[in-house]
C-alpha cells in the first residue's frame, strides 16, 4: 500500500474522497480498466473513496459536491458540452481520463472527413441527432485540472493522480 493510502488507513478522519466517473464519446476502455482495477483495489479504495457517481456500476448516482470528477471521452454535441459543464460546476477538480478526453483522438476522426466521405447514412445521423460541428477534447469545453493519458489510461498515472487527490483532501478512513 502506498504512502497516501497508508496514511488514510491509519487516520481518524470522517470523510471519503467524493468521486464521480463519467464517460462521453469513446470506447470506454478506461472505464473497463477501472472496473478491472477493482479486482485488486476494491476493499482498499472503498475505505477512502466514495464513488458518488458511476453509471457503469451504480443505479443511484449523484454529482453533487464532488471532490474530483474523472471524465472519459471526447465531447460530440452541445448536450454533452452542457452536461460536462454541469460536472465542472459540481466538482472541485476535473481530471481528463484517456486519449479521447485528453486529446480528442481517435473520437475526433470525423473532424477531418471531407464531404465525399460523408455518405448518405452518416449524414442522416449527423442531421437527425444533435451532433456538433466538431468533436472536442475535454479542455476544449471546460477547464481541466489534470490529465491521465493513454489508450486506455495508464494505470500508474491514474493511481498517482488518485493518490494526489487523497493527499490534497487529507482523506482518512472512517474511525
Amino acid at each position: 500500500m502506498d504512502r497516501a493510502l497508508q496514511r488514510a488507513d491509519a487516520g481518524h478522519g470522517h470523510r471519503k474522497l467524493a468521486v464521480g466517473w463519467f464517460s462521453f464519446t469513446c470506447c470506454e476502455d478506461s472505464t473497463i480498466l477501472l472496473a478491472e482495477l477493482l479486482n485488486d483495489h476494491l476493499d482498499e479504495w472503498t475505505k477512502v473513496v466514495e464513488f458518488r457517481h458511476m453509471k457503469t456500476l451504480k443505479s443511484r448516482n449523484s454529482m453533487e459536491d464532488l471532490d474530483v470528477a474523472f471524465v472519459e471521452g471526447a465531447i460530440s454535441s452541445d448536450s454533452q458540452a452542457e452536461e460536462v459543464r454541469r460536472i465542472r460546476e459540481n466538482a472541485r477538480y476535473v481530471v481528463a481520463i484517456g486519449a479521447c478526453a485528453c486529446t480528442g483522438k481517435p473520437s475526433t476522426s470525423r473532424n477531418q472527413f471531407v464531404d465525399e466521405q460523408i455518405n448518405e447514412r452518416i449524414r442522416w445521423y449527423l442531421d437527425h441527432f444533435d451532433y456538433g460541428r466538431d468533436v472536442k477534447p475535454l479542455d476544449g469545453v471546460i477547464k481541466v485540472d489534470d490529465m491521465v493519458r493513454g489508450c486506455p489510461m495508464k494505470v500508474q498515472s491514474f493511481e498517482q493522480t488518485l493518490n494526489k487527490y487523497l493527499e490534497l483532501f487529507e482523506v482518512t478512513r472512517h474511525g
Binding site: 464519446t25 470506447c27 472496473a35 478491472e36 443505479s59 466521405q117
Partner: protein, 433 residues
C-alpha cells in the same frame, strides 16, 4: 459497450448510453422506444486510406470491453482480403487469447452488473463486507476469475484492452511459454469458483420468455468463437461470406444504432451466449458438459435471463479449453505471415462475447483499405430488445413505474448490450395519460 454498428454500415461501436421511452394510453402500450444514444465516431470511415497493418489496432478502439473481438475480426477480414493463411499455431494462440477475453468480459457483466440484481442491491459497493455471505464470496470469486482472463490476454496478446501483439498474419512476438504452467494451474484452481457462479445464476428465478430466432457461429468440430458458419434455429446455415446478404438493415429513427432482421424469416433474432448455448451446447468442452450438466439441462431456453446463465457456462468452457491449450501447445519461434499486397475484399464473421460480429474490408493493390464495414451484435439484438420490452410492458402495466423501470433495466442488462447499456443505469421516461 456498448453497441454497435453493425452491420452493414456500422461505423462505430455502440455502448454507453441507452434510454427507453414508453407511452401508455388507455391502459395500453401506445409507444415504446428503446434508444441507443451514444454518439457515433465513424471509425470505419476513418479507417479508409490507412494501411492494412494499421487498421486492426485502430478498429479495436470500437469497443473497450471486447476490443480483442474487433481486433481479431479485423485481422481476419484483412487476411481474407489478402489471401493470407495463418499458421495453426496462430489459430490456436488466438483461441487461447479469446478464451481470456470471454472469461474476463463475461465475468465483468455477470458479477459487476448482474450480480447486484441477483442479490437485490444497487451495486457491488453495496454487497456486505461479510465473508460469510454468498454475495461477498461470489464477488471475490469474480476477482480471481477476471484476473485470470486478463492474465491470459496479457501472456498471449500483450494486453487485455487494445492488445499490441496480434498483427496481420500472426503475432509480433511469440508468447513466453514459461508462464503457461502457472496459468493452467490457476485455471484449474478457479474451476470450483466458476461452478459456484453457474449455480448462483441457475438458481436465479428471473424470467422473460418470448420466442425468438437464434443465430450463432457453428463449427461442428468444437465450440468455436472464431471459425464456422452461421446457424439459425431452423438448422439453416449461411457461410460467413454471405452473412451480410441475409441481413435486412432497419433504420430506427429514435436510435443512433441500426437494427437488423434476418431476411429469410423477416423476424427479429437474438445473438449472444444464449444463442450459442441453445444451438451448440452439444459441442462444449467435455469437462464443461459434465460439470455444468444441471445448468445445461435448462437449455434450450427462450428465457432471456438465461443469457446470463449461458455466459456463466461459457466462462467454464473457456477455462477448460484454455487449460487444454496451455498444457499441450509447444510454441515455435514464428513470425507473422506476410504476402505482397493485393486488391481484394475479405469478410470475417466471429462470435464476440455479445454475439455475431462481422467485419468486411476492401483493400487496394497497394495495401490500402478502401472500404470497411462492421456489423456488431448489439445492433442485431436491438429490435429483439425492443420487442421483449414491449411484450413485458403489455403484460405488466399493473405494476408501478419503479417496478417497471427495474424490470426494463433487468431485461436490457440480460442482453449485455455493450458496456454502458449493460450498466446499472437506464434513462427512462414513462408517460401515463
Amino acid at each position: 459497450m456498448a453497441n454497435r454498428n453493425i452491420v452493414i454500415d456500422a461505423i462505430t461501436k455502440i455502448e454507453g448510453n441507452a434510454g427507453l421511452e414508453v407511452v401508455v394510453e388507455d391502459g395500453a402500450v401506445k409507444d415504446l422506444r428503446f434508444k441507443i444514444t451514444d454518439y457515433r465516431r465513424f471509425l470505419t470511415v476513418a479507417a479508409r486510406g490507412k494501411r492494412t497493418v494499421a487498421v486492426p489496432s485502430f478498429l479495436s478502439r470500437i469497443c473497450g470491453t471486447c476490443s480483442v473481438s474487433h481486433l481479431f475480426a479485423s485481422l481476419m477480414a484483412i487476411e481474407s482480403a489478402q489471401g493470407i493463411e495463418v499458421t495453426e499455431q496462430t489459430r490456436t494462440l488466438r483461441r487461447l487469447a479469446y478464451d481470456g477475453l470471454m472469461i474476463r468480459d463475461h465475468a465483468l457483466h455477470l458479477y459487476f452488473f448482474v450480480l447486484p440484481d441477483v442479490l437485490g442491491v444497487d451495486s457491488i459497493f453495496d454487497i456486505p463486507d461479510d465473508p460469510g455471505s454468498l454475495g461477498h464470496t461470489l464477488l471475490r470469486d469474480s476477482f480471481d476469475i477476471k484476473r485470470l482472463g486478463t492474465d491470459i490476454s496479457n501472456a498471449v496478446a500483450g494486453a487485455a484492452i487494445h492488445a499490441p501483439l496480434p498483427t496481420v498474419g500472426g503475432f509480433l512476438r511469440n508468447p513466453d511459454q514459461t508462464k503457461f504452467p502457472d496459468l493452467a494451474t490457476r485455471l484449474e484452481a478457479v474451476r470450483p469458483q466458476v461452478l459456484r457462479g453457474i449455480e448462483a445464476f441457475l438458481e436465479w428465478d428471473a424470467s422473460l420468455v418470448r420466442n425468438s430466432d437464434y443465430l450463432c457461429l457453428r463449427n461442428d468440430e468444437r465450440f468455436d468463437f472464431l471459425e464456422g458458419d452461421v446457424l439459425n434455429s431452423n438448422g439453416e446455415r449461411v457461410s460467413e461470406s454471405r452473412f451480410a446478404d441475409y441481413l435486412q438493415y432497419v433504420r430506427i429513427p429514435h436510435s443512433q444504432a441500426e437494427g437488423y432482421r434476418f431476411s429469410d424469416t423477416q423476424e427479429d433474432y437474438l445473438v449472444g451466449a444464449l444463442a450459442r448455448i441453445n444451438l451448440s451446447r452439444d459441442i462444449l468442452h467435455p469437462r464443461t458438459r459434465a460439470d455444468a450438466a444441471d445448468a445445461l439441462s435448462a437449455f434450450p431456453s427462450d428465457n432471456i435471463y438465461h443469457n446470463n446463465l449461458a455466459q456463466a457456462v461459457e466462462v467454464l468452457h473457456c477455462v477448460d479449453e484454455a487449460i487444454d491449450i496451455l498444457n499441450t501447445i509447444r510454441v515455435a519461434d514464428e513470425g507473422p505471415v506476410r504476402d505482397p499486397a493485393r486488391s481484394g475484399r475479405g469478410v470475417a464473421l466471429i462470435e464476440a462475447p455479445r454475439g455475431l460480429l462481422c467485419h468486411s474490408a476492401t483493400v487496394s493493390d497497394e495495401g490500402i483499405v478502401e472500404d470497411y464495414d462492421v456489423v456488431v451484435p448489439t445492433a442485431q439484438n436491438q429490435i429483439n430488445i425492443e420487442n421483449d420490452l414491449r411484450y413485458h410492458f403489455e403484460r405488466n402495466l399493473d405494476k408501478d413505474d419503479d417496478s417497471l423501470k427495474l424490470d426494463a433495466e433487468g431485461i436490457i442488462r440480460a442482453y449485455d448490450p455493450c458496456m454502458s447499456c449493460a450498466t446499472n443505469f437506464l434513462k427512462m421516461d414513462l408517460t401515463r395519460r
